[in-house]
Amino acid sequence: MSLSSSSPRPESEAAAPDAAAPGPVPGRRPAGRRVSLRYFAVKLLGALVSLLAVMVTSFFLFRVIPGDPVAAMTQGRKVTPEQREELFRQFGLDQPLWQQFLGYLRDLLRLDLGLSYQYKAPVTELIATRLGPTLLLVGTATLIAAALGLWLGTRAGWRRGSTADRVHTGVALTLFSVPTFWLGLLMIVVLAGGAGGMPHLFPTGGMGSPDVSGVGNVIVDTAHHMVLPVATLVAVLYAQYLMIMRSSLLDEMGSDYLVTARAKGLRDDLVLRRHAVPNALLPTVTLLFLKIGQVVSGTILVEAVFSWPGLGMLFYEGLSVPDLPLVQGLFIFFSASVIFMNLLADFVYPLFDPRVRT
């Protein structure tokens, strides 16, 4: 056999527990993974345009609409005329609008998001210090929610109309209707606040207890603090994933290739795992990335409720003061991350769908 080397394949790995799982099979060429440069260029350009649009929007939102940005930024607080003067100069409000915009762009390109009132520190620095906890929370919750949602969505869709399907769909629809922050509050009251004589199982908020030392203890303590916020975020996100996966799978159900797979003598679960799921995952992944903005929204609320010291909490603090440079910086940061994640999805997608390649 003069066939080229084989590369691992996601589908066959998923099917590995089966005795008849396929091993390497002829003629896999890694060269097939080449995607046209044009595809990447178009996607990259689109992302850059989106990013520019975010910057323009932010400029208009925070500088132009309020009329007097200094008054908007300092609303509700006493400022001395010197402070006003200082702010005016800081934002270059004495210059014409287009010069202000250019200056604003220049600052952004240097990753300078201005100074926070509250913390008297550069917004960029604040974001950098608060990024870690948010990533920990969001990463954990998204992984769990995706696994749970895709799994349950697959089960519900494959047996449409069954009791399991009706239960899963009903729960998902109800969770759609639950405000994230309220769910978090309930979790605290029931599992941490000791309402009705319930034991205080979990801490009410924060990321760690003050008097814990040692790496192992800190990990356990952090995990303990993570349980409720992660559970809240998972509950909100998995319902989303479940419904998307379910309807993608239902779209595949009548397909001819599934009849072929059954005719080959595959067990029902293998037909599902090897054939239906890989096909249904493609539209699902696209939709999941489209909805990533909701992950950000969910994080803000969960962090606000559980006082989780991340970006969402920072945003909440900025709102209550209000600390507009901070809010503006986070607005740009959140939007940019969402655009970046979507770009990443576009770049990764060809790995899963051979039809986009070549």
Binding site: M1, L3, S4, R9, E11, S12, A20, A21, P22, G23, P24, V25, P26, G27, R28, R29, G32, S255, D256, Y257, V259, T260, A261, R262, A263, K264, G265, L266, R267, R274, H275, P278, N279, L282, F352, D353, P354, R355, T358
Partner: protein, 367 residues
């Protein structure tokens, strides 16, 4: 076929379908798709099943391996090598699928999984049904691809990278993968252009003959089936209406419907065939509301009053031939079966040849 008992039929025929009925349950009542069909395929022979779309022929193809959706109810027997498919346990059924009988589906674009390499898709049933090392499977896949005239490097291709004809070749290679004793070809050349159709047909019938595999080929194209198959069954509204040796059914059809199907395709070297009116007026009947009597009557050019009263069965219509039409009956046979006699025809028909020159449906009489 009529000789010998049931046991003999089971032994001599690799596939024997007996009184198969399939009914789809829908929201607005039951719809019969197949109504009491008998078919038989002897080892190493090819049976063609012809008919318009909606006559139930594709339902039969799926029913043979119990691949119909759960809304379908089946009755009768489908004996595959003497075993009834309809009463098999699931495990046994899965073992029989593809290894005992495999299917070449129509429209290979949708019948192949778009996100898996074709080599993997061909290898899948081999790994499932046979104990083989990966190296052996690789060799086998390459050999299969070569047999169907594709370079072995194409194993790495995805379905969308192949042409329609190449995809159908992949389907054929896949069908041969486990050395089945029967191949069911469901409209294998539909949606291909004419030149490719001929290639694929030659390929499939050649391979089947070389390996001594039995074949059941389903098509709307009577001429294709006459070229490829040994025997032919013509279906209309869920029933077999004519059955016999392929070339005989094609050249001297006894049922007016077979006649119309046969006339729809001009015969090369027969100028008369080009002058004959082709096609059939009207549409196939709604399976949920079949007409009384002969279901072909509303469209039949040779319909008589008695056709409304008689639901014809497959009657003997010559050596090794049967047709479900009152015209194949002599007056004596008709009386015996309780079928009303034919009205007095202007030219008296010889009793053994009820279809005569006066009958527009039977122009072969001139021969």
């Amino acid at each position: 076929m009529s000789t010998g008992g049931n046991d003999a039929a089971q032994r001599t025929n690799f596939l024997a379908v007996e009184d198969l009925s399939v009914t789809y349950r829908t929201g607005s009542g039951d719809v019969p798709a197949v109504r009491g069909v008998d078919l038989a395929v002897a080892p190493g022979t090819k049976l063609g099943v012809a008919g318009e779309s909606g006559c139930g022929k594709s339902t039969i193809a799926l029913a043979l391996l119990r691949l119909l959706p759960s809304t379908a109810r089946m009755s009768g027997r489908i004996l595959l090598d003497g075993e009834d498919v309809l009463t098999m346990k699931w495990g046994r059924l899965r073992a029989v699928r593809w290894a005992g009988a495999s299917i070449v589906f129509q429209g290979a674009m949708h019948s192949l999984n778009a996100v898996r390499r074709i080599g993997d898709q061909i290898a899948e049933p081999i790994l499932l049904h046979e104990q083989r090392t990966p190296a052996e499977v690789r060799t086998r896949v390459s050999a299969l691809l070569e047999q169907v005239g594709l370079p072995q490097q194409r194993a790495a291709a995805y379905p969308h990278e192949l042409s329609g004809g190449q995809r159908q070749r992949v389907m054929i290679a896949m069908a041969l993968a486990c050395n089945p004793r029967l191949i069911i070809a469901d409209e294998p050349t539909t949606a291909l252009d004419v030149m490719i159709q001929a290639q694929i047909l030659r390929l499939i019938s050649g391979l089947v003959s070389d390996h001594g595999i039995s074949m059941l080929m389903i098509s709307h194209d009577l001429s294709v089936l006459a070229d490829t198959c040994d025997r032919l069954a013509v279906m209309y509204a869920g029933r077999v209406v004519e059955e016999g040796a392929a070339h005989e059914v094609f050249s001297t059809p006894r049922h007016p419907y077979s006649e119309a199907l046969s006339a729809a395709f001009p015969r090369i070297g027969d100028p008369a065939s080009r002058r004959r009116p082709r096609g059939l007026p009207g549409d196939p009947p709604d399976p949920a509301a079949l007409p009384a009597g002969c279901s072909f009557r509303p469209r039949c050019p040779a319909a008589q009053d008695r056709c409304a009263e008689t639901d014809p069965a497959l009657w003997r219509a010559g050596a090794e031939r049967r047709a479900a039409c009152v015209h194949v009956l002599s007056d004596e046979q008709a009386v015996e079966l309780g079928v009303p006699p034919a009205p007095a025809a202007p030219s008296a028909a010889p009793p053994d040849r009820p279809a005569n020159g006066a009958d527009p449906a039977q122009p072969e009489e001139i021969r």
